[in-house]
Assembly symmetry: C2
Homo-oligomer: 73 residues x 2
DNA sequence: TCTTTTTGTAAAGCATGCTTGACTTAAACA
DNA sequence: TGTTTAAGTCAAGCATGCTTTACAAAAAGA
């Protein structure tokens, strides 16, 4: 799932460490998010959205509709 | 983190199993989300938002700003 | 050039998200 | 009353999110 973190951060001239501190997560987490290693949890996505004063949908790109089934009893 | 899943589901007269199937997750996952056992991943939150044609912010309530620090090198 | 800052990455470990299978209880209904 | 459907929950297990510590390499600045 792609995101605009690197751009939003660059617009503010923040380092990954700066952003990490503002979000209350580690620098490695910010790096992992920017390099697409994994997606944030929903609570962290909310923090990010709040910090940049944007909707979650404006920062994170919808995943490409997966179509995976779960057997469901 | 609270959410409006149970209400949105009730408005459509769906069972937890119906919703689970529409989302491609297990019934237990839907139940856990409704009963507040945990929050969905961001990709699942997007699926939910897409299904109900609402923004994530309209379904999930912002968490109460945690203020936890991470040591950061 | 030398030094500092920033970014990327890795490994180990703990917490959370989600699965399957199974069981219980209550409500709906024949 | 007996049967079925819906909801709640538990346990074990695997996948993902995030931590700390550590190191390497690129970029920025003296």
């Amino acid at each position: 799932m792609k995101n605009r973190l690197r751009v939003l951060r660059a617009e503010r001239d923040w380092s990954q460490a700066d952003l990490a501190q503002a979000l209350g997560v580690s620098r490695q987490t910010v790096n992992a998010l920017e390099t697409g290693k994994y997606d944030p949890s929903l609570p962290l996505a909310f923090k990010i959205a709040d910090l940049f004063e944007l909707a979650i949908e404006q920062i994170f790109e919808r995943p490409s509709a997966d179509n995976q089934s779960a057997s469901n009893d």
